[in-house]
Symmetry: C2
Subunit: 299 residues, 2 copies
Amino acid sequence: MTTLTKLGEFGLINRFKKSVKLDSSVKKGTGDDCAVIKFNKDSYLLFTCDMLIEGMDFTRRDNPYLVGRKAIAVSLSDIAACAGLPRYCLVALGLPRKTSLTFADKLFKGMRDLAGRYKVNIAGGDLSRAGRLTIDVSMLGKVEKKLLVLRSGAKKGDIIFVSGKLGGSIRGRHLSFIPRVKEARFLVKNFKVNAMIDISDGLLQDLGHILEESRVGAALYEDLIPLSAEARNLGEALYMGEDFELLFTLAPKQAKRLIAAKTPNFKPIGEITRQADRLRIIDNRGREKVIQPRGFRHF
Amino acid sequence: MTTLTKLGEFGLINRFKKSVKLDSSVKKGTGDDCAVIKFNKDSYLLFTCDMLIEGMDFTRRDNPYLVGRKAIAVSLSDIAACAGLPRYCLVALGLPRKTSLTFADKLFKGMRDLAGRYKVNIAGGDLSRAGRLTIDVSMLGKVEKKLLVLRSGAKKGDIIFVSGKLGGSIRGRHLSFIPRVKEARFLVKNFKVNAMIDISDGLLQDLGHILEESRVGAALYEDLIPLSAEARNLGEALYMGEDFELLFTLAPKQAKRLIAAKTPNFKPIGEITRQADRLRIIDNRGREKVIQPRGFRHF
């Protein structure tokens, strides 16, 4: 019997993706941070969902306010990765029978506060009983056609950037991170961003998605990767996930402009290479090695 | 400690609804089958989600093809209740680690086949590991502004209709029901439908939502309620839920036209009364009693 553990999350997603038929109104289906749907002359609709499950994405001991906040934040981060503006969401909630009203109120308040701050309407939802707290937020956003960024646009010679710092998010930041909506909008309005993704499963794995969709390779410089205060080592910044920072690429001239702008938030960490070169990492003595774009695995 | 069991599902939903702020682009938020969002000059976007959980909405022994089918069907039914055309959906899936590939393939095929039949694009999703199989489908549809039907438009004197037959769905039909998209479109294109809902939690409870949103009462005639072949008694048709038939109201002249059209699918079962008269049921000897609009309870 083939189980999911053998096939893996992305194996299963690819299997499903291949079997699904989409009509021409879908600009991009499975395989990016959001589905991209034709909307009107100037804009696309962005449509995304993220399911959080107790024991996987948070624990019973976590502050319910922050759990509610995170449920909204992860979808905001997906909209940001496509350079869109979030607008509406629905919350499907599976609650254990013994949930206290105090707990539910805090959970709701966490959702409401963050949604309010990003001008997102919580327009409805669904409530069920579940063994473990389960929250699926589906979110709609809009993006001007000319500002949309996908994973698939990276080009050989592009410089790879990351917003913020990486690693150790699981020690707390994953519950209180800032979704990079404003940063993504700043980028696409001032620069030509070729490819972008948010780092949810770890820098290498998410960079791997850009490489796969764009059919390119990459070289990263160990010394340039910005470690968060909570990161214990480089490995955590490469593999750990839940950073929810933006990972994006710019052509060299654009990159120079961004570096010259001295914004504190964006750091160059490497460059896009030919696909045949795969994913390489270069240490502080200039030694290169090919590494696997692996990271967090759900199965 | 106040638990959810005391407050109940609808108590919690109302509590949340009151605390949420919506901007003017949301025509209707929590409290109908879909959220209704302003879209363009002629149409609204409909946005809905439904979470199915193993042990609640289906069992481990059910055919995974039919479980996948149901996950899509319940959201189609919500779009139908607002008289819309379904267009896009996302599937958030929580899969147990030991799920076999055969199981996952059948689940997907059930989703794909039904989505295909209704011209719905499965545009993406999210995959997580879960203790129990959990499926949340979020769906987008469109409806012409002039054809939108909500729960809130029922008027005193309206005749109450139901599509299909009720009761006993849990014995199998809940996995293979026909979402009434075509029927709803036929109705709104040929008649002025004042209020509509789909019956998910039982005739009385869902009629109760129309009464509450429309601020009216209703009288139902026991003899007129169409029992399905699987229903063991009237109580199952009134309270059991999972019928996913349309419940709707028409002004008397419109109702006469619908009855005269002799469509086999729509049966009159009662009438809308003053709110003060509440919900009454009239038996075959003409005796009336006030009944509670209760039905399936999640908590």
